[in-house]
Each structure stands twice: as structure tokens, then as C-alpha cells.
């Protein structure tokens, strides 16, 4: 009799080869120089190089802006989609989420072409537009699912206790949908920091993001420095995820 736990072996192998091993390689490369000797110079180089640091700052800034815009646009959209009074069909939901099915690179290329055609100068504005366009569905969906799953009786109870619709929204709906917003933030903020295609196509590399310099280093065979940058980013992502994990015991709803 084969033990049930044996069934997990193929997945374990897959994880080892395609997730754990590359991560280990990143760490290994990050702490080596070109000749393969152990060194901290890659890491110290990043923190002493003002170009890298400012790119990093710009990336975080763009990521924060993108996330905020996605929340501002995505929350009302999710709320309307989840409200039976305004939306009764699943088709509208799919329409909102459909962009997720199309490769982000293709959408970005198409957006860039559109801007060219319209004669819009590429820059920060077009970059943010492209990012919001790419990441909005990832904000809408987790918020939408939390709102859909939310017990309607909470809102009714609040109304019953004397809360006008607007108060119900602020005191009940928003706080209770925060887990959805949190996973939305996770899905938008992190990928934005590391994205490079969008800035390449939509700003013609005028604005460089953190992802861009990782890509540039790797492309020009500076494997060790590129790995170090990737490692730093992983650490930052790790830290922010920890923060979110501790904020609420469990993150309900959403994609994660």
C-alpha cells in the first residue's frame, strides 16, 4: 500500500527544481563576486550607489501611487459589482476581470501603440496609466470576493441600529472588507516594484524601475549584482508580507 503522502513527491520535486533551487542560486550569486569568492560587496555596492538607491526610491513611489490609484478606482468598482441592486449578472464581473486573461506584455505594447498614435508624450503619466490598467483587476477581484462573501446581515444590523446608508458603508462595509483590500495591495504593490516591461514600453526607459535595473544587470551578464538586487527585493517583499500577516490573524478572502 502506497502512502497517501507519497503522492506529493512530484510536486515536491517541482518545487525544489523551480522554486527553491533558483532562490538558493539567487542568494548564492548575490554573495559572490565574478570569480566565485564570497563577498558582501554586491550588497554594499547597492547601498552606496546613489543611482540604484534613487531608482529604488522611484520604484517604491510609483508602486505606492499605483496601489493607491488602484484602491481608489477598484474599491468602488468592486462595491458596485458586488451590489445586487446595481449588478445582477456575472457577465459584468467577467468583463472587468477579462484583461487578466490577456498577457500583460501584449496589453502594454498595445497601450504604448495607442499613446504613439494619439501623440501622447511618454512619461510618468503614461507609466501610471499602464500600471493601473494592468493591475486594476488584481485589486478589484479580491475586494469583490470579500464583499460578495460578506454577510448582509451586518449591514442590516447597523442600519437597524440607526446607521444611515453612508455610515453603514464607512463603519461596517469598509472595515469588514479590509482583508480583501490587503490581498489586493499584496497583488498590486509587489509586482509593481519589480515590473520592467511597462516602464520600458510606456516611458521608453525614461523612468527606470527596480525591475529594470535587475533586468539590465542580468542582460549585461552582471549576474552577481543582478542577483543581489533581486535578493534585496525579495527581502523587502518578505518583510511587507510579514507585516500584513501580523496585522490580522488571518487574511480572509481574496486570491491569496
Amino acid at each position: 500500500m502506497v502512502k497517501r503522502s507519497n503522492w506529493s513527491i512530484p510536486y515536491l520535486v517541482f518545487m525544489m527544481v523551480f522554486v527553491v533551487l533558483p532562490l538558493l542560486l539567487i542568494v548564492l550569486y548575490a554573495f559572490q563576486d565574478g570569480a566565485g569568492h564570497f563577498t558582501f560587496s554586491n550588497i554594499t555596492h547597492f547601498f552606496s550607489d546613489s543611482d540604484s538607491l534613487s531608482t529604488f526610491a522611484v520604484s517604491i513611489e510609483v508602486a505606492i501611487e499605483n496601489t493607491l490609484i488602484c484602491i481608489l478606482l477598484g474599491y468602488p468598482a468592486a462595491w458596485i459589482l458586488a451590489n445586487r441592486k446595481y449588478n445582477r449578472s456575472a457577465v459584468t464581473v467577467v468583463l472587468f476581470l477579462m484583461p487578466m486573461w490577456i498577457n500583460a506584455l501584449m496589453r502594454t505594447l498595445a497601450t504604448a501603440e495607442l499613446f504613439n498614435m494619439l501623440g501622447v508624450a511618454l512619461g510618468k503619466g503614461t507609466l501610471l496609466f499602464g500600471m493601473v490598467y494592468d493591475f486594476l483587476p488584481f485589486m478589484i477581484y479580491p475586494i469583490y470576493t470579500t464583499l460578495m462573501k460578506m454577510d448582509k446581515s451586518y449591514a442590516e444590523a447597523a442600519e437597524d441600529l440607526g446607521a444611515a446608508p453612508w455610515t453603514v458603508f464607512w463603519k461596517i462595509t469598509v472595515p469588514l472588507s479590509l482583508p480583501g483590500v490587503m490581498s489586493g495591495v499584496l497583488m498590486v504593490f509587489m509586482p509593481t516594484v519589480s515590473t520592467f516591461a511597462i516602464s520600458e514600453f510606456l516611458t521608453n526607459n525614461k523612468i527606470k524601475l527596480f525591475g529594470t535595473i535587475i533586468q539590465e544587470n542580468i542582460n549585461s551578464s552582471m549576474w552577481n549584482y543582478g542577483a543581489a538586487l533581486a535578493f534585496i527585493m525579495l527581502v523587502i517583499i518578505g518583510i511587507t508580507t510579514l507585516f500584513q500577516g501580523s496585522e490580522r490573524g488571518e487574511v480572509e478572502g481574496g486570491l491569496i
Binding site: Y154, D160, L161, P165
Partner: protein, 461 residues
């Protein structure tokens, strides 16, 4: 004098998708009263409560609160509060903030909020729980917080939607007593919704029995229990045996093949009636002397306080009897029923009366299809007539396809020697059927009627 009524509900009706959920509901609630809306699930009681709370707007009719029509006022402006079935405590707030929620909205000074919340938590025995998160509370504790959260606002009326349904039996009994005590202390009017007849009998000053969107009976628990107005109420409240009978004359009724003295008058002579006998009202003894009729004990089950027995009577009826003494199955017993323990009810109908249209000499159309029968000479094609079919002349078949039309067993009543079924046809009509066969609620059946069993009558007026 409408002024004594805190709530006056006038001719309220509501349909959802063409189905009438509430049909001409009309009753009033006295100030300070504990009134219970009682009925099986789907009878419309919760819809009615939600209309009073303001979550559903009525199609027709009005709801008056202290004489003023509140039909158009949104829930947050109604001075009523609800205890929800699943409590609906806000999971992101602690116990104190949950209870204080309504008070904070009404801009009441912090000191007074503190005082009122503490007082209310004390009333529901939840002092020292202020800082607890509501997720960490047991079902019973959550229920107490939900009651405190509603009552702290001193509503004019407290609405309770099956508040104890999620608790286990022992806790439910304790909470019933506490609710009654809270009602007495606060003096606030309670409107309580439940499907549990025992709960309703324990708690209420007045019970409103509902079924299929209509009020069946309004009365005190004793009235409803002792004098049910129809077979639905008799069957729903407590244990009972409902039997077909005939009123011979005033104070004399025949059922189970025997004549009995009773206290009912004014039914007329030779009129078919329903007779309700409560199992605890049947006197059972091992001696046949002085007994009104006899029977053989069929089964005997110990129920804690009493024994529950089924007795086959001398004329072939089955009667439920409860007594403190047990009688061996197979033993012969004498039975009698006191005159004032016999409850006589007018029959709602004595046969199926259906609207029909004459198609030709030997066909009529009714219940959405065509039926063969003999149409008397006096009627011609296209005439609107009434078709009468006796209860026991409707045939029920196992397979829906085998019948002329399909239907579903909607309600069933054991009448001592046969079952009286209410069938809901696929077209949405009701048919009443007497049968010896055993069916369950929800069974799908085929319906057929022999041509000779359809009697055509002229439509009055």
C-alpha cells in the same frame, strides 16, 4: 381605540416573483405585549418581521406605529431594533463597541453610553466581557450581546427573529426564561418570530399562528392550544388526533363510530366537522366498565414524564393517548373523553370544488388540462361551471407521468384511519385528497380522476 396599540398592521400583502408570501395580514400589538408570530418555515413570518423592521416594503397595506404610518420610513429611522437570527454581531468591534454602536450613532455623551452599556450588559449577565472580541464568545453569549445591543437603545418595539434557533436545547430553555424576565423588567413590546410551538406557548402573551402567508388564528397560548380554529392549528400546536366527525345536534357529536357529549353549539344538525382530541385528554383504564369505547393498545413508549400509546379503537381508528401509567401492548383498555376536552371545528371544505370550462359533451377543462366526464344537457360549450370531486375520489399515482397531471404532497394530516393530503399541482392549484396510502411531504405524485367521479354544477351568481 387605536391608541392602545403600539403597532397596527393593516391588510399587509407581499409577493415575491408572483408568489404571495403574505396575504392580507391584519393584526395589532398592544403596548408592552410579548407577541409571537408562529408558523412552519416559509409561512411568511420572517418576511412580516422584516417589513416591520423596514427591510422589505409591503406591496399593499400599512404598518402603523403609535398611530403613524411608518411604511415609507427607512429602517435606520424607525425606533425599533432587531435581534437577528444569526446575531450579526460586528466582528471587527469588541463587545462594548457592539453594544454601544447604536448609542454612538445617536451622539449620546460618552459617559451616558458607558453607563447604559454597563447596565445592559449586567441585565444580560455579560459584565466583564466588554473588551472581549465577539468571535471568542459562545453562541449563548453572542445571543446575550445581540439582545443587549438592541435593547440598549430603548426601542419602542424589540423584534426578535428566531433568536434561540441556533442554541442547544438546554441553553434554549434557560434563555427563554431570561428573555421573559428581561421583557418583564424592561416593559418593552416584544415581537418574536419562531417555528417552535413550545417556545411560543412558553413565552407569549399572544400568539399569531401563520401558514402560507395567512393568519390562521390569533389568541393567548391557552386559547390556541385548547381551542384551535382549524385542523392546521390543531396539528401544528402540540400533539393531537384530528378526526372526521358529524355534529348530530347541539352538544352532541359523532366520531370514531361513537356518539360523544361535547360543549359546542351552533354548528347545525348533521354537519360534517373536524374533531380534535389531545392525547393527554383521553382517559384510559384497564376496566371497560363506564368507558365510552374500548380499544387495544398497539404500542407504548416511555416519554419521560408520561407514556405515549397508540390505541386501535373498537371501530378501527388509531388514537394517540398519553398517560402516567403504562398499558401493555395487546391489552384491552377502556377509553373515554370528557365533553369539554372535545374540540369541534368547522370544516374548511367537504370536497374539492374546482373552476372548469365545458369543452364539449363529454370533456371539461380544469386544473390546466382536459378531463373526460359526463356534462349534463343544460350546459353548452364554453360555459363556466364548477366541478366537484370528493376527497377520496382523487387517485394518486407513484409516477408523475402516469397521471393526468403532476403534483407534490404539500401538507398531510393523519385522521385516525386515513390521511388527508393537500396536493399542490404543477399548475399551482390545490387539491385535497383522502387516502389510506402513506405519503411523505414533498413526494411527487401523478393525479388522476375517473370520469364518473367528476360532478358538474352550475356556478352561483
Amino acid at each position: 381605540m387605536t391608541k392602545d396599540y403600539i403597532i397596527d398592521i393593516q391588510h399587509l400583502s407581499k409577493s415575491f416573483g408572483g408568489v404571495k408570501v403574505l396575504d392580507d395580514i391584519d393584526f395589532y400589538v398592544r403596548r408592552g405585549e410579548f407577541i409571537t408570530l408562529l408558523g412552519p418555515s416559509g409561512c411568511g413570518k420572517t418576511t412580516l418581521l422584516r417589513q416591520i423592521a423596514g427591510f422589505i416594503a409591503p406591496d399593499e397595506g400599512r404598518i402603523l406605529l403609535e398611530g403613524k404610518d411608518i411604511s415609507g420610513i427607512p429602517p435606520h429611522k424607525r425606533p425599533l431594533n432587531t435581534v437577528f437570527q444569526r446575531y450579526a454581531l460586528f466582528p471587527h468591534l469588541d463587545v462594548f463597541d457592539n453594544v454601544a454602536f447604536g448609542l454612538k450613532l445617536h451622539k449620546i455623551p460618552a459617559k451616558e453610553i458607558e453607563m447604559r452599556v454597563q447596565k445592559m450588559l449586567k441585565m444580560v449577565s455579560m459584565t466583564d466581557y466588554e473588551d472581549r472580541s465577539v468571535d471568542s464568545l459562545s453562541g449563548g453569549q453572542q445571543q446575550r450581546v445581540a439582545i443587549a445591543r438592541a435593547l440598549v437603545n430603548y426601542p419602542k418595539v424589540l423584534l426578535l427573529d428566531e433568536p434561540l434557533a441556533a442554541l442547544d436545547l438546554k441553553m434554549r430553555k434557560d434563555m427563554q426564561l431570561e428573555l421573559k424576565e428581561i421583557h418583564r423588567k424592561m416593559g418593552i413590546t416584544f415581537i418574536y418570530v419562531t417555528h417552535d410551538q413550545e417556545e411560543a406557548l412558553t413565552l407569549s402573551d399572544t400568539i399569531v399562528v401563520m401558514n402560507e402567508g395567512r393568519i390562521q388564528q390569533i389568541g393567548t397560548p391557552t386559547d390556541i392550544y385548547n381551542e384551535p380554529v382549524n385542523s392546521f392549528v390543531a396539528d401544528f400546536i402540540g400533539e393531537s388526533t384530528i378526526l372526521n366527525g358529524t355534529m348530530i345536534c347541539d352538544r352532541k357529536v359523532e366520531f370514531m363510530g361513537h356518539e360523544f357529549e361535547c360543549v359546542d353549539e351552533g354548528f347545525g344538525e348533521g354537519v360534517p366537522v373536524d374533531v380534535v382530541v389531545r392525547p393527554e385528554d383521553v382517559c384510559i383504564s384497564s376496566s371497560l366498565e363506564g368507558a365510552q369505547f374500548s380499544g387495544v393498545v398497539e404500542s407504548c413508549i416511555f416519554k419521560g414524564v408520561h407514556y405515549e400509546m397508540f390505541v386501535d379503537t373498537d371501530k378501527g381508528y388509531e388514537l394517540m393517548v398519553q398517560d402516567y401509567d403504562s398499558f401493555e401492548p395487546g391489552s384491552r383498555v377502556g377509553l373515554s373523553i370528557k365533553p369539554d376536552d372535545i374540540q369541534v371545528m368547522r370544516k374548511e371544505r367537504t370536497c374539492n370544488t374546482l373552476e372548469a370550462t365545458v369543452e364539449d359533451r363529454d370533456h371539461i377543462s380544469m386544473l390546466g388540462c382536459s378531463w373526460e366526464c359526463t356534462v349534463p344537457e343544460e350546459f353548452k360549450q364554453g360555459d363556466e361551471v364548477l366541478a366537484e370531486v370528493a376527497f377520496d375520489k382523487v387517485d394518486l399515482l407513484d409516477n408523475q407521468e402516469d397521471g393526468k397531471l403532476g403534483g407534490e404532497v404539500h401538507f398531510l394530516l393523519y385522521k385516525g384511519d386515513h390521511y388527508h393530503l393537500t396536493i399542490l399541482t404543477d399548475e399551482g392549484d390545490h387539491l385535497w385528497v383522502d387516502t389510506d396510502d402513506i405519503w411523505d411531504k414533498g413526494d411527487l405524485v401523478g393525479i388522476d380522476i375517473l370520469p364518473s367521479d367528476i360532478k358538474i354544477k352550475r356556478k352561483n351568481g
